[in-house]
């Protein structure tokens, strides 16, 4: 036990050093001893002895990672059956490699391979028998849509790549693997279209991924934060999505996608602000309906960030803005409220955030409580008790609902956060404060860049052609150029699809 511990510690220290190459011992026991030591006598390290070509052999594997069925079917059964011949030929596994360096073995084992050793041989066989335990491909819960594909990414990188490859069956789709996380060795995949994505962009992204130096890469949030141009901005600059169709669409616009093993979110960059307000639904419904819905979404952004501030400014500074019919009903409601509007608003906004967060954490069986507590207690009683006025409750409810309209959770939180500084400015300067706040936000949006493309792209810098797919969605046949913001290599994406219409030789 003692030497194990000491080994553990000593190894900890030596881990940093480059691993020395150790040739495979001829003695099985020695090899086994080495492997055991390297894995610190892990309890899930299993082995089974076997004989082949009259020599004794060992199959070593980690039972937690290996598919026992596979080992039995593809290794043990053929070896036992033939008992003579070439190992490469006898074993029916797909991935089988020969190694003479013993130091590679532990790494191979923890990736779910099994190792085949033979007495007297200086080579080991590493055979891929990794177990695949994945959940079903299901629709992402937080990015639901009405019409269109209902599949979503899962935690398994290969499945995710399958989903994308299946959608873009094109050899130009390039997949590059990276490893990030010094300790966890998380696998990343960088996807882009070779003939579309801007080479400068790829170079830039490649450089940024390579410069990530972390012990652990847990979530794509880590990667996003390492890669964003302005990490301290309130706005998300990298789009996270769990939808393969969305991912594929962005790939085809010449953007770059990063997938990480162990996480169902794809990182898409560079994106513009408006990408956060696009949903695949826009393209599945008819274009007029799609445009309408998208407009509503963008208006909801303005509502969510501005309405509480406007309410404060109007009640506190310029009540004369309200028309006379409205002002008396508002006044009768706020007369009893003991707080100034800013305090009222802050209380309600923070309550809302708390409720939302509680709603996420609570198990669904207790979830109903939230409805009762939030809706009845806070909504109704707070007004009855005279703490908060009805209009304020309406304002907060509007804010909450509008912010949840955004198809991306990141932007929805950003909108609500944006409301707070605006509220403070409104409490200080009224409408003038809000105007300056809006100007400030606009400047900030104008300033933001994401890998060399402007964040607020088709608006700042102004490009009328890209407006077709920004505030509204024009019919697909009129979107004959890709958006310019990622500077794709080819712009044309549609060529006279409705040509049949012109060809009609005006009969009758």
């Amino acid at each position: 036990m003692k030497d194990v511990l000491s080994k553990f510690f000593s190894n900890n220290r030596t881990e940093e050093k480059p691993q020395m190459k150790i040739s495979v011992y001829t003695s099985l026991d020695q090899n086994m001893e080495y492997i055991k030591n390297q894995l610190f006598h892990a309890s899930d390290l299993k082995w089974r002895s076997i004989s082949f070509n009259q020599s004794k052999g060992l199959i070593v594997f980690l039972e937690s990672l290996s598919d026992l069925q596979k080992i039995q079917q593809e290794i043990i059964k053929p070896l036992e059956g033939k008992s003579q011949g070439n190992v490469d030929e006898v074993v029916t596994s797909v991935g089988i490699t020969k190694h003479s360096d013993l130091s590679e073995v532990p790494q191979a084992l923890i990736q779910g391979n099994c190792v085949l050793l033979f007495e007297g041989s200086t080579e080991v066989f590493i055979i891929d028998v990794a177990a695949v335990n994945i959940r079903n491909i299901s629709e992402p819960a937080n990015e639901g849509i009405i019409r269109g594909a209902h599949d979503g990414f899962i935690e398994h990188l290969m499945t995710n790549l399958y989903l994308v490859r299946k959608r873009v069956e094109n050899p130009n789709l390039v997949v590059r693997y990276y490893q990030s996380g010094k300790a966890t060795k998380t696998k990343l995949a960088l996807l882009y279209m070779q003939n579309l994505a801007n080479p400068d962009l790829i170079k830039e992204v490649d450089q940024r991924i390579n410069s990530i130096s972390l012990d652990m890469t847990l979530s794509p949030g880590f990667i996003a934060e390492m890669m964003e141009d302005n990490p301290s901005s309130i706005f998300p600059q990298i789009l996270l999505t769990e939808r393969p169709d969305r991912t594929a669409a962005h790939l085809m616009e010449g953007r770059v996608v990063i997938l990480a093993d162990g996480d169902p979110s794809a990182l898409i960059l560079p994106v513009t602000f408006f990408a956060f307000y696009q949903s695949p639904d826009d393209y599945h419904s008819r274009w007029i309906a799609g445009s309408f819905v998208r407009l509503i979404r963008l208006v909801s952004f303005i509502i969510a960030s501005l309405i509480p501030a406007l309410y404060i400014a109007i009640i506190g500074f310029h009540p004369e803005i309200l028309p006379e019919n409205l002002i008396f009903s508002v006044k009768s409601s706020i007369d009893r409220v003991p707080f100034p509007p800013i305090v009222e608003a802050l209380i309600m906004q923070i309550t809302l955030e708390v409720l939302r967060e509680a709603g996420v954490r609570l198990p669904s069986r207790v979830g109903q409580t939230i409805g009762i507590v939030g809706g009845l207690v806070i909504g109704e009683s707070v007004v009855r008790a005279g703490l908060i006025s009805y209009p304020m409750v309406i304002v907060v409810a509007l804010t909450a609902i509008s912010s949840f309209v955004a198809p991306s959770n990141e932007i929805s939180i950003a909108t609500r956060l944006l409301g707070f500084p605006l509220m403070i400015l409104a409490a200080l300067f009224g409408l003038i404060g809000i105007t300056f706040g809006m100007l400030f936000i606009l400047i900030h949006l104008c300033k933001l860049e994401c890998c060399g493309t402007a964040y607020f792209a088709p608006v700042m810098p102004l490009r009328m052609k890209d407006m077709k797919d920004t505030f509204v969605r024009f019919p697909i046949w009129s979107l004959n150029q890709r958006p310019h913001d990622p500077h794709p290599q080819k712009y044309v994406q549609e060529r006279n699809s409705r040509g049949w219409k012109q060809d009609d030789p005006g009969k009758e």
Binding site: G316, V337, L428
Partner: protein
């Protein structure tokens, strides 16, 4: 990072010192719904304010609080009124201003000046002249089931739509008030029993009340001014014997009246200056009207309609003549004749500027009104 900390610090500092300098909380305000100005003894001004309160709760109806105070100027009087009520008196939702008849006979601009100077005042408040004193009318408190303030506001509003009184707000009379070439007119409110009647127009000259027009004349003036509301109804006696015969003399003629609504109005005003600075104003009005009530006869025959057209034209022209006469007597240049002179005959204007009031009385008006019946309702 340092910058963010600094920003946060500034933000929180600002929040704490947020005296919110200009904050003017709605809940701390008592909202003025309307006000009246009258003469008080010793050359003082008496103001009467209607304050509208809406008690909290769902089924509570609003209440009016009427308060009077005296002072040297409107603002002074308002301060005195403010002393008598809790919270702050705020006038940014003021709906109307009433001016007592006696006060209106003086220059009313000084009374209204404060409304124009205050950046928060409600310039879209209506303005009217009260027969007797404004206080008397406002003291009615309730007219029928409606609070006096709402009643006055709504009443004037509905009368504007029926082309009975002009659409006048504080803002609209401001340019006219200071312009020497035009006079304004205001609705004239009368107390009748426990009700308020708005059907007449009070005429002003040089911002002083100089007379009133009868209800018919008021509507006619508005037609001449080319500012028809949504509807404009007239009832004319159609008896051919003439105006001398009344219904009592001739019972058959009892229902010999025609009520019509002016659907379309086309006005042409031409100003001619002849030698000797004789100013003639040609007013050509073309009215397309629909008959609303005509108990006496049917309108299937073309001759009947033509005859009616002719007679109506005559009647209306007479009415116009009468209206203009009254206006000239009151020296009220409500059609902006002076303005026209100023713009298109500046030389004439220069000569007549000094004595425009009396010169205006010498202006010749030649109104011609053509009435054409185009609609007759659903029966002939």
């Amino acid at each position: 990072m340092k910058r963010i900390c600094f920003l946060c610090l500034v933000m929180s500092l600002l929040l704490f010192i947020a005296g919110c300098w200009d904050q003017d909380l709605l809940k701390d305000a008592r909202l003025l719904y309307g006000g009246g100005f009258d003469f008080a003894p010793k050359g003082k001004l008496r103001v009467t304010f209607v304050i509208q309160d809406v008690p909290a709760g769902e089924q509570q109806s609003p209440k009016n609080d009427i308060i009077s105070a005296e002072g040297d100027t409107p603002m002074d009087a308002r301060e005195h009124a403010d002393d008598q009520i809790s919270r702050h008196l705020r006038s940014y939702k003021n709906r109307f201003v009433l001016i007592g008849e006696e006060l209106a006979k003086q220059d009313i601009y000084p009374v209204l000046e404060v409304f124009y100077r205050d950046p928060k005042s409600a310039l879209n408040a209506r303005i009217g002249v009260a027969q007797g004193t404004a206080e008397d009318i406002l003291s009615l408190k309730k007219v029928g089931n409606v609070l006096i303030a709402e009643e006055i506001d709504e009443l004037i509003k509905s009368k504007e739509e029926t082309t009975t009184v002009p659409k006048v707000t504080l803002e609209k009379i401001y340019p006219v008030m200071l312009d020497p070439g035009e006079d304004f007119v205001l609705p004239y409110l009368m107390e009748q029993g426990a009700r308020v009647d708005v059907s007449r127009i009070a005429m002003f000259h040089n911002n002083k009340l100089t007379g009133t027009l009868s209800p018919e004349e008021s509507s006619m003036y508005l037609l001449l001014k080319n500012s028809k509301g949504k509807e404009a109804r007239f009832t004319q006696n159609m008896s051919s014997i003439g105006e001398m015969s009344t219904t009592e003399d001739n019972p058959q003629r009892r229902y010999d009246f025609l009520t019509f609504n002016v659907d379309k109005l086309k006005r042409k005003m031409k100003l001619k200056v002849q030698s000797g600075n004789q100013i003639t104003v040609h007013l050509n009005l073309k009215l397309k009207v629909s008959v609303i009530e005509y108990p006496k006869d049917r309108l299937e025959k073309k001759q009947v309609v033509a005859e009616l057209n002719k007679r109506l034209s005559k009647k209306m022209t007479d009415l116009a003549q009468k209206t203009l006469e009254h206006m000239q007597k009151a020296r009220c240049d409500g059609l902006g004749i002076g303005r026209q002179l100023m713009a298109f005959h500046p030389r004439v204007w220069k000569q007549q500027k000094e004595e425009w009031g009396s010169n205006y009385q010498k202006v010749k008006f030649a109104p011609v009104i053509q009435v054409e019946i185009t609609k007759q309702g659903i029966i002939n």
